[in-house]
Symmetry: C2
Subunit: 328 residues, 2 copies
Amino acid sequence: MSDKITIALDAMGGDNAPAEICKGAHEACEKYDDIEIILTGDTERIQSCLTPHDRIHIENATEIIDPDEHPANAIRKKKDSSLRVAMEMVRRGDAQGCISAGSTGAIVAGGVLVVGRIEGIDRPALGIPVPSIEKPSFMLDVGATVRCKPENLLQFALMGSVYSRKIMGVESPEVKLLSNGTEEIKGDDTVLAARDLIEAKGNLNFGGYVEGNDVVFGKCDVIVCDGFNGNIALKLAEGIMQGLKSLLTDEVKGSLSAKAGLLLLSPVVKKLWARFNYEKYGGTPLLGVKGAVLKAHGRSKSPAIVSAISAARKFIAEDGTSQINREI
Amino acid sequence: MSDKITIALDAMGGDNAPAEICKGAHEACEKYDDIEIILTGDTERIQSCLTPHDRIHIENATEIIDPDEHPANAIRKKKDSSLRVAMEMVRRGDAQGCISAGSTGAIVAGGVLVVGRIEGIDRPALGIPVPSIEKPSFMLDVGATVRCKPENLLQFALMGSVYSRKIMGVESPEVKLLSNGTEEIKGDDTVLAARDLIEAKGNLNFGGYVEGNDVVFGKCDVIVCDGFNGNIALKLAEGIMQGLKSLLTDEVKGSLSAKAGLLLLSPVVKKLWARFNYEKYGGTPLLGVKGAVLKAHGRSKSPAIVSAISAARKFIAEDGTSQINREI
């Protein structure tokens, strides 16, 4: 491995692979001179759309994991898939991190089965910085562990707190559990039991429950939830923003004055959109595995790939894995 | 009971009680001449803010249920609370329906313990018509039954289908389960088991899973989920709309051209807001109990009370309870 930060990038995963993945890799290498990228996948297809760069290499992989495949089976059987090959590089230490815009399930399965869990972490979690009004909150899990035991939520709280402190620079991050109300009597059995575990552990700045409407207002630094709830919440937020955008475009069409209004208002609308575009988060780290494993949005175009690479680069530079390892 | 539709209205529940509740009652009686309203609560306080109306009566109640109280205990102990008195009227048949903007938990507990469950329904569900782009979907449960068994979700699917057909006028409503993806391998254990139950039952127009981002696009007529998920999703949607509104207001302040733009665009913005204001749904019916029991939003002002009364009136006129009873 070179002295650069080396990132394996699954060139075949996602709706816009391999073209936008290759484009993103090139743009990232132009932006950061301390990174090296290894694109995994069909060499010919990659070469056909890649602008060559001396810090971009190709590792051939003949198979592709389909979003509809059973994640764990696919990872086990498709040993020469672009995703598995990228993850094997992390396992062997040939890369410090890997990124894929492919199947979330397969990335999680590969994280556990190929890269391996950090000791003391039973299940991994996908975390994202949630756009919000006051300050971004770090929310986890948004889709790695569909249904959680209270112990999993405790571990997510610990990992989220480390991430918020070390990567997002929050001094003493306040951690809250996502629930159906803020009163102590709220919560389902798992959330209630997780609350007791976190309070008993006593080493977190724990603030109790946060409810859905406060997520947007940045009422805490770390929001802990299971992967089922987190996935639905994140996608709902995405859907609302997409819906508003398409409705606004439609409504304005018929009216000259509305068109003029939108033009005058466009700097503000662009600012809001940039801030609340839930698709723009780039790379979501899979926390709890022995390496920087990041999931990029399935619809990622090159800017999203660049921002996933940027997130992986930061995670590796700050040594996120060791930080979590130390705290657990 | 008169030949009018008689609705008991908890005058003491919610953030703006009793003034806005009384105002809403009066406005509704002006709007609909086939209704009669019985306000339950502190007679003196009600009289001090009520504009008298010959179809509005007062039933005195000396106690108030606090949002922080344990719902079932409060309903059991506070026999003379405004909420319990309203529900007793439904139980006795002195009113066909009741509405409260008070504690959701207490309304659900009262629905079960005072009004009583429909035979064949194990747990009730709160349902709302979700604002969406294509057509409104009816979503349940949004907070009555925090954690559900597969059988509960099946019953919600049946009740939601009846409501969509009989109250919302959809001919053959397509029912979907809210999940973390549309593929068959998605879903947690409960959702998976519910899917099997619904398919085995075979009498519903069942479309599989709907994911978070499609909720907004009206991809089905009935969305079934547990009360924990539904509550978080609904509140998140509310929070996003509130957040965007307050950010837009803030951002526009500093710029004259943006102000002018917003003014020109205001008809469109108002239209979008009216359509996507998740707080505006008025009354959410508690399905599965023997009577029209509706929860109004805690922050309800008089227009929201009028729309809750309008929803209760429609539910009673269409005989929603018997419709569900017949299908179960």
